[in-house]
Symmetry: C2
Subunit: 768 residues, 2 copies
C-alpha cells in the first residue's frame, strides 16, 4: 500500500452523524412518536431472592390512564430464548433485587410511574447468595433454588456476545451448583516454570460491577404488525441478534420480527436485546405500540453491566527478565444469569506476554445479583489490572525498567497465544517502544528521589490486547439514480463507523468523499452484518464495503468505457467523473457519475444499474494492542488520586479516520479512568443496589480527565481494509492497570482492588 496515494484514508474526517446529534435534531428510539403509543414502567423486585407469592395491582389499575398491568402469567408465549429473556418478568422465583416483576402500560409516562409505585408484590424470602467465594462451596445455598437453568440455556448464554468460548477442560474441584461455568487454559508445566524462576510475584485482585455508562438508557418501541408479528425500533448494537433474541423468546419466526435500529446513544456491549423481548411481548398483548425506556435508576438496577471478579495471579521470572510461568485462578460473579466474561479474562491474563508455562482456571459463579452483559473488552480490564500489577512487582524485584521488562516478554508473530495458536503480526512491541522513548517515561527514569511530602507523584505503565471479533458481513454499493454512491450495510452506526465506511468506499472508488453516502437498513432487507461490538465492524463490514466498492468501480469503468469508447483499464475515476487517463479535461474524454446514473435509471434507460456487492468472512483475527502511561498525584492524607498526564499508544493497523480513532481512544481512557478510580455498582448485604443513581454511581466527570495524548502505531493487519485493526476495545484495557502502577510508583502501595477509591487507598497507605 502506498500511503501517499490515498486521498481520503488517513485524513481526519468529522463524523457524518455529528451535525444531527450536535444540533439536537437526531431522533432516538425514545423520540419516536407513534399514535396510540403506550408507556411502560416496570415494577422492580425489592428483594434479591424470594419466592414470588403474589402481585396486587388493584390500586394501580385504578390510576387514570392505566391500560393494563402485566405479569409473567400474561406472557405465557414469551418463555423461549435466552434464559434472561425467558424471564423478562419474574415467574416463580425472584433472583435479584431489581428484577422486573410486572409491567404497567399506561397512556402517559406519569400514569405508568404512579401506578408502578402502587403495585404491591408479596415475597417469601429465600437465602441471598452474594459472596463469590462462599458461593462456590458445595454447601452454599443456591442463588437459584426453586428453578433450574437448563444446560442448554446456560450454554446459549455462554455464547452471547463477548461471552467467550466454552471450557477447554473442566478443572476437577468439588463445587456448588452455583458455579455455572468453568474454563481451563494450560500450556507447558507451571511447576517446572516456577522452579526455573528466580523471582515470583503474586497477588489477589478484586474488580467491581461496572456499568457501561451509556448516555441513552435502554430504550425500545415495539408495535404489533397486525399479523401476529412485531416491529421494533430499538437502541441496539445489532439488528440480527436482537431479532433472533426476540423471535426465540416470543416463539415467532424470525421473519415476523422486524428490527429497525435507531441511532444509539452509547452501547459499549450492553445493547444486544435486553428489553426488546419484554417490550415486544407487551405490544403483542396490548395490541398497541409500547415504549419502554429505562430510567437511569432502572438501568443501574436492572440492565446488564459487567460483573465483579476476583483474580489470583502468580508469575515467575528469571533474573534476566524472562518470565517462566503464570498461574491464575479467576472467579467471576455472573449474577442471576450465566454470561460472565470469564473466558475472555482467562485468555487475557496470559495474552500480552509469552509465558512458556501457563495454568489458568476460570470460574463463573451465580449470585443474587443482576445478570451481566458485555462491556468493552469483556474480562480484559480486570485481567490487565491483575497481571500488570504483578508484572510491575516483578520488574521492581528484578530492578528492571517496567517497560524494558515488558519488552523482554511481549510476544511476536508466530509465538503461541494462550490457547496454543500462533499470534499473527501484532504491534505490542512497537507500542511499548514508542512509550519507552516518550518524554513522560524519560522523565520518570531521570527523576531523583525528590518525591516527598503530602502529595506524591508517580508514573505507571500498563498494557492490554484484544484479539478482535470476527463475523461474516455483506455490503452493497449502488450508484443511486441521483448520482450519489449509496453504500448499504446492515451494521449499526456506532462511534463513527459509517463515516469510516464512507471513506473506504470513496477511497476504493476514487470518487469524492462528498459523493458517497452510507445508509443502514432494517432486519427485513439488510445485507448481513454482525452487531457493532467486539472491535470488528471496520475489520469485517469494512472489508465487505471495500469489496462492494471495488465491484461497483469495475462496473462503472466498464460502462464508462462503452460511453467513452475506451478500455476500462485506460480510465480513472476522479472526483465526480470518469476520465481517460492522461487526456485533457474535456467532455469527449470524460463522463460524470451523474451521467452514468442517468444512463442506468429511468424509463427506457439502456444500461444495468451499478450495483456493487461485497461479502466476506474474516477468519484471521487482527489483534489490537495498546500500552498506556499514566502520571498521577496522590494525596496521602486523603487517598485521593489526581490524574496529571496520560499517554495512550495503540497499534491501530491503519488509522483510516484518525479523528475517529483518537476519539475512540480518548473515550476509552475516560471509561478506564472510571474503572480505575470511580465506578462500582455496590450491593448491600441484602443484595440491594445502593448505587441506584448517578449521585451514587460515580462516572468520571470531565474535570477529572487529564489531557490524553494518543500515539497511533500502524502495523498493518494483512486482512483489514487498508490494514486496519479494530480499535474500540484495546484502549480501555490497560487504564486501571496504568493508574494502579502509577499509584504504586508514587506511594509504594499496591492497590488490590478497583476502583481505587480514596477510602481504600487511604486505608492501605495508613496501614503502611
Amino acid at each position: 500500500m502506498v500511503v501517499s496515494d490515498q486521498r481520503v484514508i488517513g485524513r481526519p474526517m468529522p463524523r457524518a452523524d455529528a451535525p444531527a446529534k450536535l444540533n439536537g435534531q437526531e431522533r432516538f428510539a425514545g423520540d419516536l412518536a407513534l399514535a396510540g403509543l403506550l408507556h411502560a414502567r416496570p415494577v422492580l423486585s425489592t428483594h434479591a431472592h424470594a419466592r414470588l407469592v403474589g402481585v396486587q395491582s388493584e390500586a394501580a389499575r385504578a390510576v387514570p390512564g392505566v391500560v393494563t398491568i402485566l405479569t409473567a402469567a400474561d406472557l405465557p408465549f414469551a418463555q423461549g430464548g435466552p434464559p434472561r429473556a425467558a424471564e423478562s418478568l419474574a415467574r416463580e422465583e425472584i433472583v435479584y433485587a431489581g428484577q422486573p416483576v410486572a409491567l404497567v402500560l399506561a397512556e402517559s409516562e406519569g400514569a405508568a410511574a404512579e401506578a408502578a409505585a402502587l403495585v404491591e408484590v408479596q415475597y417469601e424470602d429465600l437465602p441471598v447468595v452474594l459472596d463469590l467465594v462462599a458461593a462456590m462451596d458445595p454447601g452454599s445455598p443456591l442463588a437459584r433454588s426453586l428453578t433450574k437453568m437448563g444446560e442448554d440455556a446456560a450454554e446459549a448464554a455462554m455464547h452471547g456476545v463477548g461471552g467467550g468460548g466454552a471450557a477447554e477442560e473442566a478443572p476437577q474441584e468439588k463445587l456448588s451448583a452455583n458455579v455455572s461455568g468453568q474454563t481451563h487454559l494450560e500450556m507447558g508445566d507451571v511447576a517446572t516454570g516456577f522452579a526455573a524462576a528466580d523471582v515470583v510475584a503474586e497477588g489477589t485482585y478484586d474488580t467491581a460491577w461496572v456499568h457501561q455508562g451509556y448516555i441513552e438508557t435502554q430504550t425500545c418501541v415495539a408495535a404489533p404488525d397486525g399479523m401476529g408479528g412485531v416491529t421494533i425500533h430499538a437502541s441496539t448494537q445489532g439488528l440480527f441478534r436482537t431479532r433472533q433474541v426476540v423471535a426465540q423468546t416470543l416463539g415467532l419466526a424470525q421473519e415476523q420480527v422486524r428490527v429497525v435500529a435507531m441511532p444509539v446513544g452509547g452501547g459499549f456491549g450492553g445493547k444486544f436485546g435486553l428489553i426488546e423481548p419484554l417490550t415486544a411481548a407487551a405490544a403483542l398483548v396490548a395490541r398497541r405500540p409500547v415504549r419502554l425506556g429505562f430510567t437511569r435508576g432502572e438501568d443501574l438496577l436492572a440492565a446488564n453491566p459487567t460483573p465483579a471478579g476476583r483474580l489470583e495471579v502468580k508469575i515467575g521470572a528469571r533474573r534476566d527478565g524472562k518470565v517462566t510461568a503464570i498461574q491464575a485462578r479467576l472467579i467471576f460473579d455472573t449474577g442471576a444469569y450465566p454470561n460472565s466474561p470469564m473466558a475472555g479474562a482467562a485468555f487475557a491474563v496470559a495474552g500480552c506476554y509469552h509465558f512458556p508455562n501457563l495454568d489458568i482456571k476460570g470460574f463463573e459463579v451465580m449470585t443474587n445479583r443482576l445478570g451481566p452483559g458485555a462491556y468493552r473488552a469483556p474480562g480484559n480490564p480486570q485481567a490487565s489490572f491483575a497481571v500488570e500489577s504483578v508484572m510491575d512487582d516483578l520488574a521492581g524485584r528484578l530492578e528492571l525498567d517496567p517497560i524494558a521488562f515488558r519488552l523482554l516478554n511481549v510476544p511476536s508473530e508466530g509465538d503461541p497465544r494462550p490457547d496454543g495458536k500462533a499470534w499473527p503480526i501484532i504491534g505490542l512491541k512497537d507500542c511499548l517502544e514508542r512509550l519507552s522513548v516518550h518524554p513522560l517515561w524519560q522523565r520518570r527514569a531521570a527523576r531523583g528521589a525528590t518525591n516527598g511530602g503530602r502529595f506524591r507523584e508517580g508514573i505507571g505503565v500498563g498494557v492490554g490486547g484484544w484479539r478482535g471479533g470476527l463475523e461474516p458481513a455483506a455490503a452493497l454499493c449502488h450508484v443511486d439514480p441521483s448520482g450519489i454512491v449509496n453504500v448499504v450495510v446492515g451494521a449499526v452506526d456506532l462511534s463513527g463507523t459509517f463515516t469510516t465506511f464512507r471513506m473506504i468506499a470513496a477511497e476504493t472508488l476514487g470518487v469524492d468523499y462528498e459523493l458517497v453516502r452510507v445508509v443502514g437498513s432494517d432486519s427485513t432487507n439488510a445485507p448481513y452484518s454482525g452487531g457493532s461490538g467486539g472491535s470488528k465492524i471496520v475489520y469485517t463490514v469494512g472489508q465487505a464495503v471495500q469489496r462492494a466498492a471495488t465491484d461497483a468501480r469495475e462496473q462503472i469503468l466498464e460502462l464508462a468505457g462503452q460511453i467513452l469508447e475506451a478500455a476500462p483499464q485506460d480510465l480513472e475515476i476522479a472526483g465526480d467523473r470518469v476520465r481517460v487517463k492522461g487526456m485533457p479535461a474535456e467532455s469527449d474524454y470524460e463522463v460524470t457519475i451523474a451521467k452514468i446514473a442517468s444512463l442506468t435509471s429511468g424509463f427506457g434507460a439502456k444500461h444495468a444499474p451499478i450495483a456493487g456487492r461485497g461479502t466476506g468472512a474474516q477468519t484471521a483475527n487482527a489483534p489490537g494492542f495498546s500500552a498506556h502511561l499514566a502520571r498521577v498525584r496522590v494525596d496521602l492524607d486523603t487517598g485521593e488520586v489526581t490524574l496529571l498526564d496520560y499517554v495512550a499508544s495503540q497499534d491501530v493497523g491503519r488509522a483510516l479516520n484518525p479523528a475517529a480513532v483518537e476519539g475512540q481512544i480518548i473515550g476509552a481512557v475516560v471509561q478506564g479512568i472510571g474503572w480505575g478510580l470511580y465506578e462500582q455498582l455496590v450491593h448491600d448485604e441484602n443484595g440491594q443496589v445502593v448505587t441506584g443513581s448517578l449521585m451514587d454511581y460515580a462516572l468520571p466527570r470531565a474535570e477529572v480527565v487529564p489531557h490524553v495524548e494518543t500515539v497511533l502505531v500502524e502495523v498493518p493487519s494483512p486482512d483489514g481494509p487498508f490494514g486496519a485493526r479494530g480499535v474500540g476495545e484495546p484502549p480501555v484495557i490497560p487504564v486501571a492497570a496504568a493508574i494502579a502502577n502509577a499509584i504504586h510508583d508514587a506511594t509504594g502501595v499496591r492497590p488490590g482492588a478497583i476502583p481505587i477509591t480514596p477510602e481504600r487507598l487511604w486505608k492501605q497507605i495508613a496501614a503502611g
Copy 2:
C-alpha cells in the same frame, strides 16, 4: 426450456399479499398513525379558467382545530419539478375546475373539511377552452392565457410515464398555441397505397376522459425529518420516480426525500407522485406530519385520468384482403398540462397490422380540464377502438371473416413496426388463430339469419398490442440468518408481482417456494427498479431477480461443496437442502439451507454471507398482443347492451403464475368494459366535472361482467425470465373494440364514440 422440469413456474399460486388484504389487516398509507398528524383538505377551484384574485380564509381559520391554511404564496420553495407539481396550488391563473387553490391543515378530518368549505376564493373569469378541434384554431382563446408553460416544462411532461416519445417530424399546419405537442409517423406513401386499394373505409371515433378507477384514492403521508428533508409514505407505483418529482418540486436533493411505498390499492398508471409534492411541501411548512387523502370526489375532479381523444382513421385494402395504407389524424385533449397519450396512440393505430404505407399525425391540445395521467396501455384502447372498427368495416365490404381478414395482415417477426424498426417474435397470429377455432367464433360463422326482434345478439373481435416497457433493474437474493431466502427489490408490489418474483427465485434456486420471501425497500436503500407500470416489472425486475437467484445458487453450491467435500456441479438444491446428486438422503450427503445460513452468520462464523445480486437492462421489447371476442345482446328499444360471453386470448410469453396472469386479464377486461360501455368523466359547458361521484361516474359493476374465458398463448420472449412477456396492459386494449364490433354485428350500427351508452346507441339505432 423444458417446461416439465419446472417445479414452481407455471403453477397457479395464490398471491402472497392476499391474506392481509382479505383479512383487512393490510395497512395502507391512509392507515398510518403518526403522532401529531395533521389532516389536509384541499380547496378546489369552482371555475375552469380564471385569474386568481384572492383567497379569504378568516372564517375557515376560526374553525376549532384548524392549524393553518396554505396557498401558493406559502410555498415559494415548491415551484420546481414537472409543471403540474410546480402548480400544486394555483398561483396567478386557474386552469381547470377542480384545481387545488388552498390546503387546509387541521387536527382532524372533520375540522379540515369544515374549514375547506368556508374558504372563499375570488375569481376573475377568463374564456374557458373546452372544444378540442376549435382549440387548435390559431384564433382560439388560450387555455392558459396569463402564464406560459415553458418548452422545457412541456418536454419534461412529455417524457412522463406513458407519455411516449417526442415528435419525429412536426406536421406543418398553422395551429393555436393550445397545441402543446405533435407527432408524425410516416412510412411509404399513403397516396400510392390508397390508389392500390380496392376498398377504403374510414371513420371518426371519439373517446372519453376515463378515470383509472382505483379503489384507494390518491393518499400520502409526509413527515419532516427535522433536517430539512421529508419522509413520504405513499400509495405510489414508483419509489424512485416519486422521490425525483418531490425533490425537483421542492428544490431538495434527492437524498433529502425518503419515499416508503405503502401497499397500493390500485394504481393503473395514475400513481406516480401526483399529490406527494404538495403534501411534502405542507409538512415542511407545518413542521408536522401531514396526511392528504383525496375523497372520491376530489379524485374524480383533481387526479390524473386518461384524456379524451378524437381519432380519424382511414384504411385501404385490396380485394385479396391485404391492407395497403393507413392514414390517421389523432387529436388528444391534454387538459391543463401536456401529458397526453398521443404518441402511444399514434404507434398503436398502426401497431397491429403490417401497413406498407402509413401516415399518422398526432396532436395534443391544451384545454381547461384537469391534467392527464397514464392509464393502462396509454392511448391504446382509443387507437384499438378506432382501427378495429375500420378494420371490421373493411372485412364487411370485402366479405371476409373478420378474423381471417386480420390474420392476412398481422405482422410477424422481422416485419417493420410503425416506427420502421423490426418486430421481434410476437404471438398476435397465434392469439387470433386460437380465437378463430373457438366455439364462440365458430357459432358466429355457423349462424343463420335468425337474429331478429327487439333483442339482437352479435359477436365481435378486437385486437391490441403493447410494446412493453423497459427500465434497468437490480435485485438481491440473500440467505437470511434465519434460513429464509430473502429477495430484496426496489419495485412496488402490484398485481402479485412479488409472488411471481418469489416463484422465479424458488425455481431458479431449486428451493421450496415456502422458503423464499420477497421484500421491498425504501428509496434510501433499495436496489434500483422502475415504477410498477408499463407491463415491465416481471420482464425487467424479474430478470434481475432471476440473476440474483442464480448468483446466490452458485454461492450456496460453492459453500455446500466445501461442507460436503464435493464439487459444486455434483450437487443439487432440493426443497430446503443441498445434496449430492444420486446419493441416498443421509446427512453425510446433504446440508440444509438453514445450516448454511448458520455457517454464514453469527459471532465467529467462518463463511461469507450468501448474497446474490442481479442487475440488468432489457433493451429488446417483448411485445404482448391480445385478441378478444365479445358476445353482446342489444335492446333495440333502449340501446342497452348486455355482455353475454367474453373470450380473451393473449400471448403472455410464459404464464409464470397462471392465476396472476388470468387475474390480470380478467381485471383488464372489466376495465375495458368500463371503457366500452360505461365510463366517462363529463365536463359541462363551463368546464365543471358533472361526474364527481361514483353515482355519476359509472364504473362497471360485477353484475354487468360476464364470465371471462382466458386463453393463454405462450410464445416465449427470448429475454424475459422463463420466456415471460408483460401481461398487464395488453388485455385492456381490445375490449371496447370487440364490444363495438359485436354491437355492429348485432345491429348493423357502427358506434362512433365510447362509452357506448344506451342513449348514444339508441339515437344511432333510431337514426337507422
